[in-house]
């Protein structure tokens, strides 16, 4: 068929819009070390899978001379596509068009694709690169943000929501990523803050760079706002693909099953843990010693590293792993690590991912700063999250499980379905030193040689209580297992809990200690 004038007109219109903000703006974007919105979508999605919608949307602003300005796609690209054959909805703000500023129609495009994602049950990926609200559109622009936040909240727990920060994301705009499940940042490119350096300088007289205020490292290491940090955009896209391989499309499905593979022999589970309970080791080595292909996809790697959370596979099935990390702060629970674990547990529970908890902790971190920072309130989150979760919950106590820490780390008492303990497990109110000092205080003080008596009492207590058998005698744990049997027991536990069904009393929602 020969092209009619209508076809020619269509191609002319479309090509103009596909050019985004034009050559100059694109050059500027590239000079900042950033890909364009369109290139980002192409790089992230399967080849030729992207289908764009709402390309011809136009803004409706009639103030401040805006009626004479055309903004291609109104500064955001939306559509559907696939990532490793999984369907996704995606939007990418286009910084080359009016700085990616958010006006009413820009927001409508986003909320439309969000509604689509929820209706069709597929993950939503939002690529943020925007100067913020489009000031010319006034309160309409604020309305747009609010409508996005509302939908983020409604979609929470129904479809996985991923936010990718590839440029500035400032002011109210930060709250969309904050409401989503996973936030990805790229070093030197991502910037997130409520009030920028200029406002801070004017109001407070304090000078700080964007990078030091809310750069990628700040978000990944200090605030915990970001779950994943990459050194460039392509590495970031690789992380997104990896994450999607572990999680289901929506809350009505399970994660995809992969062909089972054995762990790599170089992670020898018998040799990782030092015999003395006071010596450190890397809990991730234990995870790799039991996981398929020794793969472990860590979430929140740089924040609160005294607890480790992430995804692994056991005999092909995705599991969410939570483990104390003796390598950092002796693996204590504190304000940030409780927050981190609780959030991860709730994600796994919402998306049908069984939880495997590896326990080796001396308890909660002591200190005035912790108490004043609200370790009671934040620590309670982990209890709430574990108790509330109805996915299969499997706990392995490797070494120390003392006091409140023992209870918090998915103990039987919080509803664990299986609790296993290694022969090296010490399940007690506290470590032998602390316990002996309290129980035998008078005897130690009255002794001719207090140091020798203390040592003897510590050994006595340790002998009697620093083991798994007291807890096993009460049925608080189900089996004492050798380290090399761990994978076997975990795989079996996952297998037999495939049809686990646990219901909760009917309620509107609980009130977690936010």
């Amino acid at each position: 068929m020969a092209p009619t004038s209508k076809h020619v007109d269509f191609f002319r219109r479309k090509n103009k819009l596909l050019g985004g903000g034009g050559t100059k703006a694109i050059e500027k974007q590239t000079a900042m070390g950033k890909l364009t919105a369109r290139d980002r979508i192409t790089a992230l999605l399967d080849a030729h899978s992207f289908h764009e919608y709402d390309l011809f949307v136009e803004h409706k602003c009639r103030d401040f001379d805006m009626e004479s300005k055309s903004l291609p796609g109104d500064g955001v690209i939306t559509g559907t596509g696939t990532i490793i054959d999984r369907p996704v909805c995606i939007y990418a703000q286009d910084f080359t068009v009016a700085g990616g500023s958010l006006g009413l129609m820009h927001a409508r495009k986003i909320t439309k694709i969000m509604d689509h994602a929820v209706k069709m049950g597929m993950p939503l990926i939002g690529i943020n690169d925007s100067g913020g609200a489009r000031i010319q559109e006034g309160v309409d622009s604020l309305a747009g943000y609010g409508e996005i936040f509302y939908r983020n909240t409604m979609a929470s727990g129904i479809i996985p929501q991923l936010s990718v920060i590839l440029g500035p994301c400032a002011g109210g705009a930060v709250y969309s990523p904050a409401l989503t499940d996973f936030v990805f940042v790229v070093d030197k490119i991502s910037k997130m803050f409520i009030t920028g350096p200029e406002v801070i300088k004017t109001v407070l007289g304090e000078e700080v760079s964007m990078e030091d205020l809310g750069g990628a490292r700040v978000q990944a290491e200090i605030t915990g706002n970001a779950h994943f940090i990459a050194s460039n955009e392509l590495e970031c896209f690789h992380q997104i693909k990896q994450l999607l391989s572990y999680i289901p499309w929506n809350n009505g499905r399970r994660p995809d099953r992969y062909p089972p593979t054995a762990p790599k022999p170089r992670f020898d589970i018998e040799k990782i843990i030092p015999p003395e309970p006071s010596k450190p080791y890397d809990i991730r080595d234990i995870i790799r010693a039991v996981s398929d292909n020794s793969d472990f996809f860590e979430v929140h790697k740089s924040w609160a590293p005294n607890v480790v959370v992430g995804f692994a596979r056991l005999d092909g099935e995705t599991v969410g792993v939570v483990g104390n990390q003796p390598l950092v702060l002796a693996g204590v629970l504190d304000v940030d690590s409780s927050d981190k674990a609780a959030r991860f547990i709730r994600f796994c529970d919402a998306f049908n991912i069984p939880l495997v908890t590896l326990v080796d902790l001396p308890g909660y971190l002591p200190g005035i700063d912790q108490e004043h920072a609200g370790v009671i309130r934040h620590g309670a989150k982990i209890l709430y999250a574990y108790s509330e979760a109805t996915v299969p919950k499997i706990t392995v106590i490797l070494r120390k499980a003392y006091g409140g820490g023992y209870i918090a780390m998915c103990s039987r008492h919080l509803g664990a379905d299986f609790v296993f303990a290694w022969p090296t497990a010490e399940i007690a109110v506290m470590g032998p030193e602390g316990a002996a000092n309290i129980i035998f205080r008078n005897e130690i003080a009255a002794a001719a040689d207090p140091a020798a008596t203390r040592k003897q009492k510590v050994a006595e207590y340790g002998e009697k209580f620093a083991n798994p058998y007291v807890a096993a005698a009460s049925g608080h744990i189900d089996a004492v297992i050798g380290p090399s049997d761990t994978r076997k027991f975990l795989v079996h536990a996952i297998q037999v809990s495939t049809n686990k069904s646990e219901s909760r009393p009917k309620k509107k929602h609980g009130i977690p200690p936010f």
């Binding site: 007289g205 702060l329 204590v332 308890g363 971190l365």
Partner: protein
């Protein structure tokens, strides 16, 4: 071998001392000190608009000491105790940071 790791430090929890790595946040934590009830610290960064007292002046609990403009709001900072103004560290126009001590009141019944 882990025990030969040079960066390991000690952390004591419930009477047991563990070898482990410490985080930046842990090392940066602020030491706590007993708050002085007569020390009037700034709770929000801003600028001093008015100073209503002089050193040596007697004040009652609730008396205005200074007016601080912060976030476009004029805040009267009131005396937390009965006593005598010991020192005034700010003047009209001073930019004050959060936590900065603006005045000290010697508490007396």
């Amino acid at each position: 071998m882990p025990s030969e790791h040079p960066r390991y430090q000690k952390l004591t929890v419930q009477g047991t001392t563990y070898e482990t790595l410490l985080t930046g946040k842990f090392l940066r934590r602020k030491p706590w000190s007993q708050p002085d009830p007569g020390s009037v610290a700034c709770v929000i960064p801003g600028m001093i608009l008015r100073v209503s007292v002089r050193p040596g002046q007697r004040v009652c609990k609730g008396d205005p000491l200074v007016t601080l403009e912060a976030m476009k709001m004029q805040n009267d900072v009131l005396s937390p105790v009965d006593g005598t103004v010991k020192s005034v560290a700010v003047a009209v126009g001073t930019q004050v940071a959060k936590g900065q001590v603006m005045l000290v009141i010697a508490s007396s019944p």
